[in-house]
Each structure stands twice: as structure tokens, then as C-alpha cells.
Subunit: 400 residues, 2 copies
Amino acid sequence: MLLKECLTHIRTQLDNVVDFWLKHSHDTVHGGFFTCLGKDGHVYDEMKYVWLQGRQVWMYCRLYRTMGRFCKPEILEAAKTGGEFLRKNARVLGSSNPWKCAFCLTRDGRAVKVQRSIFSECFYIMAMDELSRVTDDKDLQLEAEQMMEQIIYWVRVDSSGLGRPSLPGDVPTNSMAVPMMLLCLVQQLTEGREEAVTQKYKELGNWCVEQILQHIQRGGTAILENVSVNGEELPGCQGRLQNPGHALEAGWFLLQYSAMWGDDNLQKTAINKFVELPYQNGWDKKHGGLFYFLDVDHHCPTQLEWNMKLWWPHCEALIAFLMAYSQTKKPELLERFYQIYEYTFKHFPDNDSGEWYGYLTQEGKVALDFKGGPFKGFFHVPRSLFMCECILTDLLAKHN
Amino acid sequence: MLLKECLTHIRTQLDNVVDFWLKHSHDTVHGGFFTCLGKDGHVYDEMKYVWLQGRQVWMYCRLYRTMGRFCKPEILEAAKTGGEFLRKNARVLGSSNPWKCAFCLTRDGRAVKVQRSIFSECFYIMAMDELSRVTDDKDLQLEAEQMMEQIIYWVRVDSSGLGRPSLPGDVPTNSMAVPMMLLCLVQQLTEGREEAVTQKYKELGNWCVEQILQHIQRGGTAILENVSVNGEELPGCQGRLQNPGHALEAGWFLLQYSAMWGDDNLQKTAINKFVELPYQNGWDKKHGGLFYFLDVDHHCPTQLEWNMKLWWPHCEALIAFLMAYSQTKKPELLERFYQIYEYTFKHFPDNDSGEWYGYLTQEGKVALDFKGGPFKGFFHVPRSLFMCECILTDLLAKHN
């Protein structure tokens, strides 16, 4: 296959996916987005998940800001309405901390559930910062940075404000999601901004990288999802857990960071350990596709969905391999990209009703046929298509 | 097939399953039970789940107390050691409520996680009450009854002590697990005890039945897992959720209760609505077996495991149909029992290494090959075999 064909296909896919969400997900009554969308786009549940609200605002803004064909009033308007819905409703009234956000809201914005973690707040920040870039509203940027301070405090100083009771057997762990998410936010908050902002978050960025690298375990042969705060392997299932899609996502976060700072060693580690290794350990040799969870000692994971093929690890793998190739031009990385590309586009897109299926059986059969749900919104698919389109365009421009 | 063959097979299975757990699950160092047991019985994680600790104590005691061949010192000793482990470690030290139990503990008994629900406490009660019956230790019975008072307070008066924040969008619901669990405890605490105890819990038992019957919805054509506190259907996925295995378990709880009080109407409702209906709605016509979750409007459930075939719904279905048959002698109920029996014994038992697999794909292939995990312990399989053996023995005795 040629890069050019690939680009054309990915552009078409991105247009299709954007259309799907523009058409089906907007709540014109209460603002915000429906994300529980069935096979044909019908709303099968009105609950509004804060992660997905924030991500959709972010994605609309990013497309509007950086890709000419999406610089349309309809998209900006939807992003703004989503941002307003979040600002009005996401923070939990009467909570002991004014920055704590809900995990899910009723259609009209009343809090239903609060998680004792930082992720709702992280996606809130992504939304506000990116929205501030397209609207030039400095208040939003300020709000994003203030919430960021709170998150840093929860992660690095004292997490008791998140509401989890302190228990004698519950040892603090370094769960890869946390430094990954913070690294992503550092890149969000600093990208294209003045030197002072970059410097403000520099130490945090380095700390995140260090924390992520602690997950290289077993003499460099595996990325483990949870390690001790000293970077040692934890006992039991929790310690042996591998999440290949997550490791691949960390891989391209690290590649972006290494490119930003010109860090060749980090680039090499990112490719060897966070791109190639999770593929080697995580690819299903029999049926193709990436497993969701694996146990490094080949015990059966306890997650019932361990052997399912989910859309998002494949989205992350596409970005990771294409970015690794674009930075190094090593042909084996492009070959791998094509292999994942082939599996992904053969299995996930729904050519009849649009968008992608999210959840396949190990054998690649559609197991859940909805297009959006509590954890699948307008994010991984369009982000992957967007990133791949950018990288491919860049590669082809340099090539010509 | 003859009932007699069936009985012989079930006896053998029960012996096999008891042997497996006696051999592999006892922690002779710290007390209590390992429940994360691999295909061949090896311990792949040392975490101790309070639900499963309580259930194993209960099951050992019940077997010891009521089935001659299990009245062995080894089983009593294991139950006592498990009970001691629970009494020493299950309650969360320094918690705001002295009755709150942890969800999971380290091998040596330190709390790792606390759930904001009542179930750890419920299985603690089952363990203590049944243990008091075999040891004649009245303190245990008293402790069980005291904890029961606390649970009743959480469920019927004020749940804020469980630690869930009160949120404007989080409307109180009647989730079927709660009245089912309480009804099970009422039967546990009153069985064979003096009239005063029976009377003490009579109103609660009736309330539980009433709460369970509220789950008959859609003009009597479906059992829905979650309804409003007024017995109305809830909006969205939560409201449309069906859990056929759970409905079947409720079915035989209601049958037991109707037999105890001689309530023919309740018996009829139990059989029509909680035994036959969940089978009709929940049986996979194509591949056989009971689905785990279904949406009453045929949307795709959002639970990734919705179409998997789990061991425990089949365990409950066996008890429900056999009990319904034994109470009514209607041949169609026995036929249904044989159908479920055939699927169950063809797919779940591992004839090589013993015990049952717990998690199959929709097509009936083993998806997770461990014998015990965070939610699969020494409970559903032996309870089902035990109950079926009792019912079959009784049927055959009356027949001769």
C-alpha cells in the first residue's frame, strides 16, 4: 500500500466519523453531548459522562483549530455549548473541594456519580485549555491551569481529598494512567505557549516521564501497568497486569515529548519499550488484533474482557507506529503500521451506518454493536485518524 | 435421564468440588482461604475477598451440619479457621462505623478496599450464623444478629453511613440484589430457630418479598434488575437491565419462602415470573446457555461481558427449576431442568483438573480458565450441587 492511499482513506474515515457525531450526539435542549449512541446513532441512554463531554469538546476544538476543512461554525458552536455545559455542571456542588468533578451527570446536568480519581478533572482541563485556544478566552485557560494545580496536589502531595479512605493494606502504587494523563496535560497546556509556561511545567513533565519509565519491568521485557512508587514490581494480579494499548499510547506520548526536547535516548526507549514491546507481547498471533489485558506470567487475567479486541488500543497502535516511523524512517515500523491498519480497518468501521464498533470478540466478531457508550465517545477514533492524517500529510509533503 | 442417575452424578461432582477447595484453598499460615486458584488449583493471587471468605465458611458449615459424609473434623476445622480470620480482620479498624467490613484483605488480613455497599457484611453474617450452628457458640449468633440490625438500618433508614456522597442526580433505587440478600439472611437467621426469632424477622421478610416483586415489569413480561423505590421502571440502560441468573436465584429464594409460609400465590408468582420468565428471556436460542445481561428493549447492553455464559446463573437455574418441579411435580419444569443440566455439565466442569470453569464465551468456549477468582469462590457451584442433591434425595425418597 502507498502512504497516499492510506491518507485518502483516513481522511474519508475522519469525515465520516465527524459527521456521525455532529448528526447524532448533540443535545440541543440541555447542551452537552449524548454519547450512548446505538449502531445507527440512536440515543439509547441520556446519561452524560464527564470524561466524554470533555474529550468531545477538546476534539472539536482541535479539529477546528488545526484542520482547515473542520473550521466551520457548526463545530465551534458545538464545542462552546459543550464547554458551557461542563462549566455549569461538571463540578460537584457542595463537595468538600470546589474542583472535584462528577463522573457522570443526568441529561440536565445533575451529578449522578463521583469517582475517587483525577480523570474527570483531567478531561475538563483538556476541554477548557483547547477551548481557550479557539475562543481566545483567557478565563478558560486560567481555569484549566488552576484545576491543574489541584490535580498536581492530589497526585504529588496528598490524595486524601479524592475521598478514598486510607487503609493499611492499600499501598500507594504508580498506576501508569496517572503520569500518562499528566504528561498529556503538560503537552496540552504548554504547546505553542510562551517560554514561561513551558518552564512552569518542565519539572512536572520530567517527573511524568520518569514515572512512566518505571513501568519497564522484567529486565526490559515487559511494560507492567502498576508498579510500586519506587518502581518495583507489585505482587499478584495487579502487579503482573499488562495493558498493551495503554503502553502504546504512552509510547506516542513519550515520542512527542522526546521530539519536543530533542531527547534521542528517550526516543529510542519509547520505540523499543513502549511501541515494539507491547505489540510483541500484546498481538494475538492466532486471530490478529491486540489483547485488552494480559498477565506477564501467562496466568489468565481476572478481567472478563481480557481477550476482547477493543477499538482504542488499535487507535493508539496506529498513532504509535506511524509516529515512530515518521521520526526514524525505519521500514519495519511502517510495515507494522500497515499490519495494524489492515486489522483495524477490516474489523472496526461500520460501513453501513458509519463510525466504528468498539468491542469485538477474540475472533474479531462484533460483540457490542453500539457506536458510543459510557467509555466510547468522540475521542479515540477521531484523535487517531486526525493524528495519522497529520503525520501522513507531513511525510508526503517532505517526500515530494 | 433418570432422577437417580442425576443424583449419582451430582453427588460425585459435589465430592470433587469439595476436594478441590480442601486441597488448594486453605492458607495454613494466616488462616482464611485463597480464592484465586488457577486451572490446576495453584494460587495465582493471595488477596482475600471478604465475600468469598464468608461464603466458604458458610458452605463448609452447611455441608458439615447437614450432610453426613461431610461431617468431618477437617471441614469443621477449616470453617472455624476461616471464621476466626474474618472476626479478626474483616471489620475495618478506625472506620467511622464499627460494623463496616472491608471488601478485600491482604493475605495477612490488612484491609485493601472497602465497598460502599452492604454485601461484605451480609456474607459475614451468613458465615457467623452458620458457624454458630455447628459450634453452638451463641456469641457468633449474637454478632450476626447485631450486624443484621446495622444492615437493616443502612437499607431501610439511612444509607449515608455506607460512605456514598449524596448527589442530586443519584436517585434512590430498588436494586434487586438488596432485598434478595436480606431475604436470604432472614431465612438464614430464622431457620429452625424458636418462634420469637421467626417473628422478629417476619415483617422484614415480607418487606423483602414485596421489594422483589416490584421487579416484575412491562405488564408481567420481564424481571428488571433495577426499579425506582416506588416500583416504577427507571429510565435508560440501568432501568432496562435484565440479569436472568439473578432473577432465577430470586425465584428459588421466593419458592423457599412460599413453602415456609404456605403461600400458594407467591409460589405461583415465583414460578411464572422468576423461574420460567428469566429462562424464556435469558436463554440463548442459538448457542444454548443463559446470557449474563440483556436489555429488555433489545439494545446492546453496555456491560462488555453481557453475552458470556457464566457458571453461577446456571447454578441458580438448576436449583430454581428443580425446586419448582419438586413443589409442583409439573413435568415441563423437570424437562427444563434437564435441558439446563445438560448444557451446564457439558460446558462448565473441568474433568481433568477438577472444579468448574466460570466464564465461557457466547459460543460456550472457555474464556477464562481459572477455577477461582475475585468473584468465584467455594459457593455457587457447591451450593447448587448441595441443594440439588437434597431435593433429588427427597424426591426419590418420596417416590419409593
